[in-house]
Subunit: 234 residues, 2 copies
DNA sequence: CTCGCCTAAATCGTACACGAAATTCACGGA
DNA sequence: TCCGTGAATTTCGTGTACGATTTAGGCGAG
């Protein structure tokens, strides 16, 4: 059931096609393989990905447009740091945007729409975090199914871009047991609010949900930073 | 006084430097010189701006990252239409973001900060729309002075990008007398709320202000479209 | 009328040349 | 001997030209 949705998702990495230089560099930045504030030399990246300099240059320009790279004239490009401040900034915006998108869904959702969302939720429950990557996909689809047909394409695009970043960061950090329970609980509550056509409760729930996710990721990022300073015993 | 601020504004067109191909194409898109959904052929643009194809390609990639052009592989680039729907989408997001930024300003503003904003307001009042371009600049600075030092750089960047687009569109459309009065009245009310440290009133006022501006621009865009269908008499 | 080839055009990748900036190294003074 | 300064060298960013690849459109045969 949920696979039907996958095709509609604006795929970052379309299947069965060599990932472009743009996608590779972007992934390297988000995942942290390219260090924060690190220099991005075109020749180096070109050699690394086995292409010429021109595709690299265009990829960097696109990334600059998206805000992942900062460039100064005649001094090249640097990686914009994806630190906890950046994540906090994004979540603060999402706390504002997602409730509005959710409100709209509550108003226009058909029973089929709700059934689709619920089936995604059921799958997440039965999966119970056994496969974290799969869980992340389902979580994204769970929300995307609600925002999919919103008339404000610009807001949905913004949400999607933010989601990609946050998803990539989440993959690097564990999810606490507390948070796992909270996510499923809040999803459940959101579904209940939607089914009873309670806009206000749905909006409030999703606001709480987003804020909790943000807080959790930032805490995990702080913990990871602390780990780097504590030498392992063993 | 207000000139001090100008230097801090992330200038789109730094003075005394030849505008880059990127800036020229971007301006052509926003201002409507390049028609909506029109094809963007690199050779054509290169000839138009007297450069080679490579700078054009990189400019298009950056614009794609910012969402102004859409590109499909091996089929080139097209102009994303800046229509009233797009403007509505932007304003709907600004209605959410700007009140939050304003709230923060109310909490942390010093008397000097408020004095600066007020001086900008006074200048706008005394100017009274005699110079529309100057008014636009002052209006932007009026709000930017409040958001300038907000900790959420991502939100401020988002606001700034939106502001650039809306400013360019505003330049193409007249401002009704009603709206002119409303703008100054709402600015005055916002200042009063700030000076009495009334977060809620300031946030509510700015929300009303943004929504009113959006509604007005969209109405003007609709009127301009209607004008195209009514042949001139004389 | 439809299908398939074929030509024209535009995009995409590669190689190269020029100019600016950063680094290195040698020289002179303390 | 050590440090600061300045010039030479090297590195890197930016612009140009060209060949390869893909797509769109027209033309003719069936």
């Amino acid at each position: 059931m949920s696979e039907l949705l996958t095709e509609d998702v604006p795929a970052t990495v379309p299947i069965d096609r060599a990932p472009s230089v743009y996608e590779l560099i972007r992934e390297d930045i988000i995942s942290g393989r390219l260090p924060a504030n690190g220099r991005l030399k075109v020749a180096e990246l070109a050699a690394r990905h086995g292409t010429s300099t021109n595709p690299v240059r265009e990829a960097l320009q696109q990334l600059r447009g998206e805000g992942f790279v900062v460039m100064t004239p005649n001094r090249g490009a640097r990686v914009r740091p994806i630190d906890s401040d950046f994540v906090r900034d994004i979540y603060e915006i999402e706390v504002l945007v997602e409730p509005v998108l959710t409100r709209w869904f509550v108003r226009v959702a058909t029973s089929e729409d709700i059934a689709l969302v619920e089936s995604l939720h059921d799958e997440m429950v039965s999966l119970n975090y056994a496969d974290p990557a799969r869980h992340g996909d389902l979580d994204t689809q769970f929300h995307y199914a609600m925002y999919l047909r919103h008339y404000n394409r610009h807001a949905v695009d913004l949400w999607w871009r933010h989601r990609e970043i946050l998803g990539a960061i989440s993959k690097r950090h564990p999810t606490s047991l507390n948070r796992r329970a909270a996510v499923l609980r809040e999803h459940r509550e959101l579904l209940d609010a939607i089914k009873s056509h309670d806009e206000d409760r749905a909006a409030a729930t999703v606001a709480r949900h987003v804020e909790g996710s943000g807080r959790h990721i930032i805490e995990q990022m702080g913990a990871a930073r602390a780990d780097l300073r504590i030498p392992r015993t063993g």
